[in-house]
Amino acid sequence: MTLRRRTLVLAGGAGLAFGVGPARAALSPALVEAVQGWAGSAAPPRAGRVRLEIAPLVENGNAVPISIKVESPMTAADHVREIAVFTEKNPQLDVVRFHLVPANGRAEVATRIRLATSQHVVALARLSDGSVWQHAVDVLVTLAACIEG
């Protein structure tokens, strides 16, 4: 199985908010619930506009570089308010929530996160018009060769 096939990119419209491609594990109910809790009363998060960049194969889950980019003019009338990241199988699903303002100029953030095991990572953006967009990626996490213990 090539690494590319491990990358899950949700496509489709509102009805497929948590839709999955063929032969892919669905996002866990706990993750769906955590995301919905954050998204609030807005319609289910839609796929698109958000791009989560993360290596599909990670050598060590202790520090995984990620970046999130959202298409947005970042004007007072149309900007990203918040970017949130969730994981599926970490002991705690929340990872980080970024708060943005038009003065950022671009809705682009980067950080390094921890991944306890191979799992889905989801990035979401809440826009000034209240809409919520998302991108989920399936990540393989390996371990160091020699476990020191």
Binding site: V96, V101, N104
Partner: protein, 109 residues
């Protein structure tokens, strides 16, 4: 451990008015998750940075609510449209009363 908190801030030089620049900030912090067992099997208590903020001349321009899944020595990068020169103040808060503040200049020509 060394007593001073270490932080690394990167603000680009030679910024022109209207440029969108990337600010990068790293702070030394163990980010103990609270899930790890120590050598005797008991849980090491949580000790993490919980909030990072950046203000430009007193106006908030970026903030992050931080959870244990952010890696040790947390790193954040974000964008900023440069309108005029000013003072950037970056602050971190966390468990056990952790607080740190860095001040640096944004020079815009």
């Amino acid at each position: 451990m060394a007593t001073a908190v270490r932080a690394l801030i990167h603000v680009p030089r030679q910024v022109r008015r209207g440029d969108v620049v990337e600010i990068r900030a790293t702070i030394a912090h163990v980010m103990e998750t609270g899930h790890r067992p120590d050598s005797e099997g008991s849980r090491v208590p949580r000790d993490i940075v919980t909030r990072f903020e950046c203000q430009l001349d007193g106006t908030p321009v970026f903030a992050a609510d931080v959870y244990p899944a952010v890696a040790a020595n947390p790193y954040f990068a974000f964008a900023l449209r440069a309108e005029r020169s000013g003072t950037l103040v970056l602050t971190w808060e966390g468990d056990r009363g952790f607080r740190h503040r860095e001040t640096t200049a944004l020079e815009v020509t």
